[in-house]
Amino acid sequence: MFVLHCGSSAMRYLSKSLRHFYQLLISMTSKELRARYKHTFFGFFWLLVNPLLQMSVMAFVFRFFIKEEIIHYPYLLFLGLLIWNFFSLSLSKATPSIVYERALIKKARFPREVIPLSIVLSNFINTGLALGLLFIPVLFLGTLQISSFFYLLVALLLLFLLTSGLSLLTSALNVMFRDINFFVQAFLIVWFYATPIVYPLSFVPNQYQWLWFFNPLTSILQLAQYACLHTPLPNWQTFTSNLAVIVLVATLGILVFKKQATKFDDWL
């Protein structure tokens, strides 16, 4: 129990601390961004090279296995990989972040959430820029509509919510159980294949489709792909169950983090 008085009303204190949280988050995020690109010549360019390489290899290899022609397959792959890379990179960097920043935790009292969230946010900004570049060739495909932006916005919002919630959860738990990091790494490999990135969901036989209800990335991906390339939208069962998982994960992440944060110092 920690009571703070700042000589002002509770509301003013709340708005002041929210403002401070926001300023601190921005500052930490810009630290992440600057630190990453200060010594690379092309900087941001590397962010595109990675999915481009992955896409080229996959588009080449999977052509042998996938018998039906999938229209815009390289675009679908690239979009899927951008989203996946954001998710997996954020999660694997945020999970050990509290442990890495132990000196900070032991130095001062500040909202600990900014440590994992600044990692997610800086990756999010990068991904947004890369998506912007992807739009240039997509414009020529003629698949974009005005409503595209709405669907893309929903997809990105859900993606951010899911990644932030999960990062809060794993980073908090990793302080106490250091093997969480290994679980995350192992799980990400499975998760990649459990997400319709290299294959469309329609390739999955009907009796197994329910399995994808539990993978919230399914709807996020399908929404983004619909927005950019006009592939089918997720059906309502997939969407509602995915949404439920996202809300659940985000809530759990926030609650667990809040509870664990008071004890971080004891475990570091």
Binding site: M1, S27, K106, F177, R178, I180, F264, D266
Partner: protein, 242 residues
Amino acid sequence: MSKKDSVISLRGVSKKYLLYHEKPTLVENFLRISKRIKKEQFTALDKIDLDIKRGERLGIIGANGSGKTTLLKIIAGITTPDAGQVEIKARVISLIDLTAGFHPELTGEENIYLNALLLGMSREEVDQKLEAIINFAGLKQFIDTAMFTYSNGMVLRLGFAIAIHAQPEILLLDEGLSIGDEKFRKKANLALIKLFKRKNFTVIIVSHIKEMIQENCKRVLYLKTGKIYQDGGLKIAQKYFK
């Protein structure tokens, strides 16, 4: 002393640490092997009641493991007690780890903003004090270069400069604070003394050094195995350090 005019008030504050001989893992927790891991409890603080008035200068003494640092951490808000109530009514700055929170790739100025925000300052506050911080640290010509080019002493100086410009009303000092070269140490000491002399400025010092306590404190708290053993004037320190 009543609770009303105290700037820090602790009521029945206890803190226990579990001493694991190994860090627990999730796998063990699930497989229930965890019972085999020996757990020992260590009581760092045991039902502490403490009121510190605005403007008081408190020295905390006691043997290693008597709970001094835990008490300081609880007042700084770095950790929370298992039981009891903590009330802090002013901005606390601790001079514990001056160099934490700096990033070597960022410039001095960028680091000032980051570090000051971590200490609880707002952006606007830093805008106002930026000049003063840079001047105090004596880093005018280096402020736009990346921090990895700084010497250790320069980093410490900057850390100290930010901390004392954060307008603390309560300052926490842990022993063994190193602040750089002799010239800057004098400057830092003068700045601290100036702060100490400010009206209503509260200082809490944890130290094993007799002079540090005797010169800077008026009230002494003697901790023994997580309990307040003695609480009173400098006489306690004189006896303790004999």
